[in-house]
């Protein structure tokens, strides 16, 4: 798109490009913000790229409702099936490498080569989480040798609806690195894209829509992170909160954690040393921390006997 803009500026386009209207992704559909608002998204040099939806509190609530509705189906799917769907997501991004490379380059001000490396890493990150779906229960649960005639088994289960504030700088790799663990564990997500660079995220929604991910499993909002984070942190039907995209603002983090206490949301906040928000090295081995952050352990007892 930036290429097209540049062409227009030199005055001799062979044909006028068709610009994309970027929209939200909620409940498997692509609505505009109910508020009718948009905001200007610019590239690293300040040039206009597109207008993105400026989501409202109402959009956030709609997204939560869609995520809740999708939760039984996604969490109840077999782990194998979730893995297949996530692997399909990787295939779809692979097929659109050129598009994402150009969007990431524009969004983050990267050279084509570095943007391409980000997209490659993002694809590989999806594959990593696709493979975890049917293994996480084996590393996080199992039978417990209780002192009595009982079978006792602990199993990880998804926490539920997770509101995720995506990292502000890493527009695609960072986004996928925070979304992947929620989906692999069986949770559904309300994902707030990078405020400054939401376009790769909004295009990624098109991938989700064509990857067998059931509608509502991922709901993507663009807009002001602080404005959207507040109602999500306070929402009684949100079960967990990933504060990665708010980590640059300690006062916002505190406010969100206070709001989250109202229904005891599980809060994931990257700690110093584990990578502090956008200081996080998204290219590094992600480990299992984010995956386990959005799981609950259920322990079931049953007597043994005749």
């Amino acid at each position: 798109m930036s290429e097209q803009t540049a062409q227009r500026r030199v005055g001799a386009p062979r044909r006028l490009g068709v610009l994309k209207t970027y929209k939200l992704f909620v409940g498997g559909k692509f609505p505009r913000s109910e508020s009718g608002r948009v905001y200007e998204v610019v590239d690293a040099k300040g040039e206009w790229l597109a207008n993105a939806p400026l989501s409202s509190r109402k959009d956030a609530r709609d997204a939560v409702a869609a995520a809740r509705k999708a939760f039984p189906g996604w969490s109840g799917a077999t782990a194998y099936n979730r893995g297949q769907v996530l692997f399909r997501v990787a295939e779809m991004v692979e097929g659109r490498r050129a598009q994402f490379t150009s969007e990431v380059a524009a969004a983050e001000g990267l050279s084509a080569a570095r943007a391409s490396a980000q997209v490659d890493a993002a694809i590989d990150r999806i594959v990593w989480y696709a493979g975890w779906t049917d293994k996480i229960a084996q590393i996080a649960g199992g039978p417990n040798p209780v002192a009595g005639p009982f079978l006792n088994v602990s199993t990880p289960e998804p926490t539920g609806v997770v509101a995720v504030l995506a990292p502000q700088r890493s527009s695609l790799l960072g986004l996928i690195s925070v979304l992947g663990p929620v989906l692999a564990g069986g949770g559904t997500a309300v994902l707030v894209a990078s405020e400054r660079a939401p376009l790769p995220a909004l295009s990624f929604a098109e991938v989700l829509a064509t990857s067998d991910v059931p509608g509502g499993v991922v709901n993507l909002l663009s807009g002001r992170t602080a404005e959207l984070a507040a109602p999500l942190a306070a929402h009684r039907d949100v079960d967990a909160l990933d504060l990665t995209g708010a980590c640059g603002d300690p006062e916002l983090v505190r406010e969100l954690e206070v709001a989250a206490a109202e229904n005891l949301k599980r809060v994931h906040r990257p700690r110093a040393g584990a990578g502090n928000g956008d200081a996080e090295d998204w290219a590094a081995d992600p480990g299992t921390g984010r995956l386990l952050a959005f799981l609950e352990t259920k322990t079931v007892w049953h007597p043994r006997g005749d």
Partner: protein
């Protein structure tokens, strides 16, 4: 012919309770800095048992400082050595279990049958279990990254525990904290301080290094001062959901790690094909064990409509045989309510049940004239909107609802902001597995109820809290698993910095 039970009281002389106790700080008992104290009474007869020190802000400061100072040495001890301290504690707990059972029954009001057969054996078992982990942390598979260092202790753990299982909750908190190399400041509940103080004496007998375990008796203000102290790295709380939320707000935005084990409104689901006699025993155990003062109590009975009458008749018959009275009597099933405040809350909610239209029933049951007592109570005709179906009563009160299909049972069971426990009674294995999967609760008992074990993770979904106690999972609450290096060179230097921030004396260590 009916045989009466002869009195069978356990001897009160098995335990010597001193007229007064101080705070246990840095390996010594001391008075509260401002000299305040409060009485702890036996809820069965309202007689004062002892006078204990009331810790204030200065005492919290001293205890955190002691724990901070003890941390580097304790954390640096080889795991096998920490393990042996915990094995010592476990053995002494076993040796003194009869004394401690009597003490706990006196201070808490629960039947000696329960302290003797449930609380104390579990207390010792918990220390044995976590003792064995102390030198095996590198093998626990807890690391969150494929690179980086091994799990590290967090530092000073502030632990605030409730009055319903005083010594057992202490064990659930202290054993994993010490095994992983943390030091502890523990605040027992205001109404049940004594067993924690006896535990301090066990730490002395075990020659645990000074400052590794500190015990502060006091009230909610003491607990609030402790969890908000800047020298604390980890807060672990068991108690009400309201206080748990207040603590979560208090630590918001800070560096303290938090685990919460809070309230519940557990559903005990009885299907029509269940073995009804066993189910009745499970329902009685689920709702009346420890006078129903159990966070994971099965306080809502969901019974399939087709067997509701039959089950309720058997339940009433069984409740008629429960013996309420002297907690020290070995035949007693139902002891005293822990405090007048708790009794008032149970009374208020039970009255609300009646006022909202549910039918109230209790077996013929004579309540002692002294002490705090509440007869086992069953409400039928309860709807999901009734307060007694929604709010945690924490008393011997059972709310009965009915259902027709498994889907309805699951929907009703999950219709609560809590998610701690649930029960399923049916002979059909596939139904157990399906229903257990759909229940949003941390512990599901199928064809049994209220079973606990040190190897078995315990904790809630949703507003019942987060984090697990017990099992390998229980280690996670007390470890930094990120593999990150300490912020400054070496853990000891780091501790010095933090000690200084806490106004501590650990800087030179």
């Amino acid at each position: 012919m009916v045989f009466d039970y002869a009195p069978a009281p356990e001897s009160r002389s098995l335990v010597q309770i001193a007229p007064s106790y101080g705070l246990f700080v840095d390996g010594e008992f001391r008075e509260a800095a401002d000299g305040r104290s409060f009485k702890t009474v036996s809820p069965a007869d309202e007689q004062a048992l002892s006078e204990v020190a009331h810790a204030g802000a200065e005492d919290v400061e001293a205890a955190v400082r002691a724990a901070r100072a003890a941390f580097p040495g304790w954390a640096a001890l080889p795991g096998a050595e920490r393990a042996k301290f915990l094995f010592r504690i476990a053995r002494i707990l076993q040796e003194r279990s009869r004394e401690l059972a009597v003490l706990e029954t006196l201070d808490n009001g629960k039947p000696i049958r329960e302290t003797r057969d449930a609380d104390l054996p579990q207390v010792a078992a918990h220390f044995f279990y976590y003792a064995g982990w102390a030198d095996k942390l590198a093998h626990a598979g807890l690391e969150r990254t494929a690179h980086g260092g091994p799990p590290r202790p967090l530092g000073v753990a502030a632990q605030v525990i409730p009055w319903n299982f005083p010594l057992l909750m202490l064990a659930w908190k202290v054993a994993p904290a010490l095994a992983t190399g943390n030091t502890v400041v523990l605040k027992p509940a205001e109404t049940t301080p004594l067993s924690a103080l006896f535990f301090a004496d066990i730490c002395r007998q075990a020659q645990l290094p000074a400052g590794v375990v500190n015990i502060l008796t006091g009230d909610g203000e003491t607990g609030a001062a402790l969890v908000s102290h800047p020298g604390v790295d980890k807060v672990a709380f068991t108690g009400s959901t309201a206080v748990g939320k207040a603590i979560a707000r208090e630590v918001a935005g800070g560096d303290k790690r938090l685990t919460l084990e809070l309230g519940g409104k557990g559903a005990n689901i009885v299907f029509e094909d269940a073995p009804l006699d066993q189910a009745v025993e499970g329902v009685v155990n689920g709702s009346f064990f420890n006078q129903g003062q159990v966070c994971c109590a099965g306080s809502r009975l969901l019974v399939q409509e087709s067997v509701a009458d039959e089950l309720l008749e058997a339940l009433r018959r069984r409740l008629g045989t429960l013996r309420l009275g002297d907690p020290l009597d070995k035949n007693t099933d139902i002891g005293a309510i822990n405090s007048p405040e708790q009794l008032a809350r149970i009374t208020e909610l039970a009255d609300a049940g009646e006022a909202e239209g549910a039918a109230r029933w209790s077996p013929a049951c004579e309540l002692p004239s002294q002490g705090y007592w509440f007869a086992p109570t069953v409400f039928t005709g309860v709807t999901q909107a009734h307060r007694i179906a929604r709010e945690e009563i924490f008393g011997p009160v059972l709310s009965v609802l009915t259902f027709r299909t498994p889907e309805e049972a699951v929907a009703k069971a999950n219709n609560t902001p809590y998610g701690l426990s649930a029960g399923i009674w049916t002979e059909k294995g596939s139904r157990i597995l399906r229903v257990a999967e759909k229940l949003r609760a941390g512990v599901v008992w199928a064809n049994t109820f209220n079973k606990f074990d040190p190897t078995s993770p315990f904790g809630g979904y949703r507003e019942s809290g987060f984090g697990r106690e017990g099992g390998r999972h229980g280690l996670e609450a007390y470890l930094d698993l990120t593999g990150a290096e300490p912020a400054e060179a070496g853990a000891v230097a780091n501790e010095g910095r933090r000690g200084a921030r806490a106004g501590g004396k650990a800087g030179g260590r």
